[in-house]
């Protein structure tokens, strides 16, 4: 269905609003006829990307190509795309027919042709006989159908959809997903779809573009993104997963949760720290002793409709989530194994925090917008530029912002089987990463401190 020909190319596209970087060097191509989904949490830049393509925004840097030609200078009303907006954006002073005919009338299409095309598209979205209705009298689902019809009637080269189903209830959303997929197949035009709903993305897309914090994290088919996430963020965002710290012992051999496993990944080096992802449905129960890789105690078991969701504590003390069609009683000891194919090994993005700082005097360093005490640094003088390393588990988080040298907010959290890995966003916009056994929630306000002996300071050499 999707050809190899690119219809849209984004090259090194960046965009900031009021000094805040929203898109950072986006590179992306979209093939003709493809159903592409931009997926990510709110504020990841997905809607901004769509608005850049639609022409409502201009990139600060980089270029956007349509069929190989730069369209930066072309205003939205001359671009052969049409958009379905999140809140429909129908024209309340026009009825259904006039809303859909709006674009055709502007193009001076003859009246009888308009009539014909509007009727055809209304039939396609199952809204025949609604021509005369006032748009405000329609339900959310019907308004969305009219919005889709209004976009499709102009026969755009690309249909842009900005979270079109977000305002609908679950049942209706599922139905509309199927209809959208159907329309895409019938029309054969390119769909670019923005959503924060990973399930929707997996259902609809030919290609998923996972975004976070203004950057593309991964591009791939739904199966690739699900089965082979490139980092902990993607693994956590798409579907349920067990994300664990591990060590790549050698090619095809990895250790995590205190056990060694065979895997299929190569090329990480020897004894390298890695992140390991195991999907909950990929941990299997067995009765046979020779198959058993480790044992665990079932802590909880919940029926989820199709499967049971169980939390187990491994014999080495790590908590894992398992999904299985069979239920195992709480407190029973079970034998478990994982197929080498189902272990996804990922490079760690970082193994400790690294900050840039400046020495204030022999025992104080200034960094992250605060001043911290450190052990005496006889080799360094005030004003020296330094790099400061702090291990993830050596960051002290405090309940009250004012108690810490730094104030921040819990921005993202991952459970790693026996501890939490938090991303803290400081008030100055810096990130730091923390391993902790304490339970925090996303959005918690925290104070941050470091003990003097935990700051590892080295002189920074100007590049």
């Amino acid at each position: 269905m999707a050809g190899e020909e690119h219809i849209i190319d984004l090259k090194h596209v960046s965009k900031s609003f009021g000094g805040k970087v929203v898109l950072d060097d986006i590179n992306l191509y979209i093939r003709k006829g493809e159903f592409v989904t931009l997926l990510g949490p709110s504020g990841c830049g997905k809607t901004t990307t769509l608005r850049l393509i639609a022409g409502f925004l201009a990139p600060d840097e980089g270029e956007i190509l349509l069929d190989g030609r730069d369209i930066s200078g072309i205003p939205p009303y001359k671009r052969p795309f049409n958009t379905v907006f999140q809140r429909y954006a129908l024209f309340p002073h026009l009825d259904v027919f006039e809303n859909i005919a709006f674009g055709l009338k502007l193009q001076k299409v003859p009246a009888d042709e308009i009539e014909q095309r509007v009727r055809k598209v209304l039939k396609m979205v199952s809204m025949t006989d609604y021509e005369e209705r006032d748009v405000d009298s329609l339900s959310g689902g019907q308004q969305q159908r009219v919005a889709i019809a209004r976009a499709l009637v102009n026969q755009p080269k690309i249909l842009l959809l900005d979270e079109p189903l977000a305002a609908l209830d679950l049942k209706l959303r599922k139905d509309m997903q199927i209809e959208l997929k159907e329309m895409h197949r019938e029309l054969g035009i390119t769909f670019i779809y923005v959503t924060h709903d990973q399930e929707e993305a997996l259902t609809l897309s030919d290609t998923i573009v996972v975004m976070d914090e203004g950057r593309i994290q991964q591009i791939g088919t739904p199966a690739e993104v699900y089965n082979e996430p490139v980092n902990a963020f993607v693994a956590d965002f798409i579907g349920e997963s067990n994300i664990l710290n591990g060590t790549m012992i050698r090619d095809r051999r990895v250790s995590f949760i205190g056990h060694e496993f065979d895997c299929v990944d190569e090329g990480f080096g020897e004894n390298k720290p890695v992140d390991v992802v195991v999907r909950p449905e990929d941990i299997y129960f067995t009765q046979k002793e020779e198959k058993t890789q480790f044992t665990a105690t079932v802590k909880s078991c919940t029926f989820k409709g199709v499967h049971y969701e169980m939390y187990v504590d491994s014999d080495t003390g790590y908590e894992l989530m398992i999904q299985n069609y069979d239920a195992y009683p709480v407190d029973s000891v079970v034998r478990l194994y994982i197929d080498p194919d189902d272990i996804q090994v990922m490079h760690k993005e970082r193994t400790c925090n690294t900050f840039e700082g400046v020495m204030k005097d022999e025992t104080h360093v200034e960094m992250l917008g605060g001043t911290f005490e450190c052990l005496p640094q006889p080799d360094l003088r005030a004003g020296d530029k330094v790099a400061v390393e702090v291990d993830f588990d050596k960051v002290d988080l405090l309940d009250h912002q004012e108690e810490g040298e730094l104030a921040g907010e819990v921005h993202f959290l991952l459970y790693k089987g026996d501890h939490y890995h938090l991303t803290i966003l400081t008030e100055d916009g810096d990130h730091l990463w923390v391993d902790t056994d304490d339970i925090w929630d996303k959005g918690d306000q925290v104070g941050v401190n470091f003990a003097p002996q935990d700051l590892k300071i080295s002189k920074r050499h100007e590049a």
């Binding site: 639609a54 022409g55 409502f56 205003p75 939205p76 009303y77 001359k78 795309f81 049409n82 958009t83 907006f85 999140q86 809140r87 429909y88 954006a89 129908l90 024209f91 309340p92 002073h93 709006f102 674009g103 502007l106 193009q107 405000d136 209004r150 976009a151 102009n154």
Partner: protein, 265 residues
């Protein structure tokens, strides 16, 4: 008992407020030259007013014409300027937006005399000859804020994507403005127009200071001069009654529109 006093209070207030108007309206149906002297029911003053058989009728009629002309032109221009300003302010954010809304409120609160005198001084300073144009410009300056205030809520209610949707469907910015924005802002624009129109009709102080020396009279300045000459021309009584009725109807129209708008939300 308590309720009785509460009712009385309301009625006394209403009577105090409306007594002068009722007084004028009642005495517009008698022929007496002196206000307050009932000489029997007659519609003579109304007849005189419409047939022009009265003293100084030419200057009264021209004052009415001037008033209407100035009110219509200034309200129309205010409506256009105010709508454009409201769209601009709506698309601003933060401190600038708050500052502009605050500035917009000043001309409405500022006493008319001060507005009048300051405009008078401005025209003198600019060597701008005072007459029709200066009066109309002055009325535009105090009418525009009312339009801004009545268009802003409409903009706030509007789906922010509607304008973009129009562009997306192939409308140029000016087509989007005409075919999508203005139809949705129209109720607010009309309310603003009516407000600016009544403000202009009503104005004395600003007109008085900015009309210059070419002898331009509006209704309010005519009545002022007439009263100083020694007693009001009797035909002013039916005229005022009619104006009051017209304003009453306009106010009812605005209120009914607003009630309808709130209902439709």
């Amino acid at each position: 008992m308590k309720k009785f006093f509460a009712q009385c209070y309301i009625w006394i207030l209403m009577i105090l407020l409306y007594a002068p108007l009722i007084f004028i309206a009642v005495f517009s149906f008698t022929e007496s030259k002196v206000l307050g002297n009932w000489t029997g029911f007659s519609t003579r003053l109304y007849e005189n007013l419409f047939t022009g058989r009265m003293q100084g009728s030419a200057s009264l009629i021209s004052a009415v014409e001037n008033t209407l002309l100035i009110a219509l032109v200034s309200a129309a221009v205010s409506m256009i300027l105010g709508t454009i300003a409201a769209i601009g302010i709506h698309n601003m954010t933060g401190r600038g937006k708050r500052a502009l809304l605050f500035l917009n409120n000043i001309p409405m609160i500022n006493p008319d005399v001060i507005t009048g005198v300051s405009l008078f001084l401005l025209f003198i300073f600019l060597h701008f000859s005072q007459g029709y144009l200066s009066v109309i410009l002055s009325h535009i300056s105090f009418g525009t804020p009312y339009v801004v205030l009545s268009v802003m809520p409409k903009l706030r209610q509007m789906n922010p994507n509607v304008y973009e949707a129009a562009l997306d469907l192939g409308a140029t910015p000016s087509q989007a403005l005409r075919k999508v924005l203005i139809p949705q802002l129209r109720p607010g624009m009309v309310s603003g127009f009516i407000l600016a129109f009544t403000m202009s009709l009503d104005d004395f102080a600003v007109t008085f200071f900015t009309r210059g020396t070419i002898g331009l009279e509006t209704l309010s300045t005519y009545i002022y001069a007439d009263a100083r000459k020694g007693g009001l021309t009797p035909e002013l009584r039916p005229l005022m009654t009619l104006i009051f009725l017209i304003i009453l109807v306009l106010l009812l129209v605005i209120n009914i529109r607003q009630a309808k708008m709130q209902k439709s939300e």
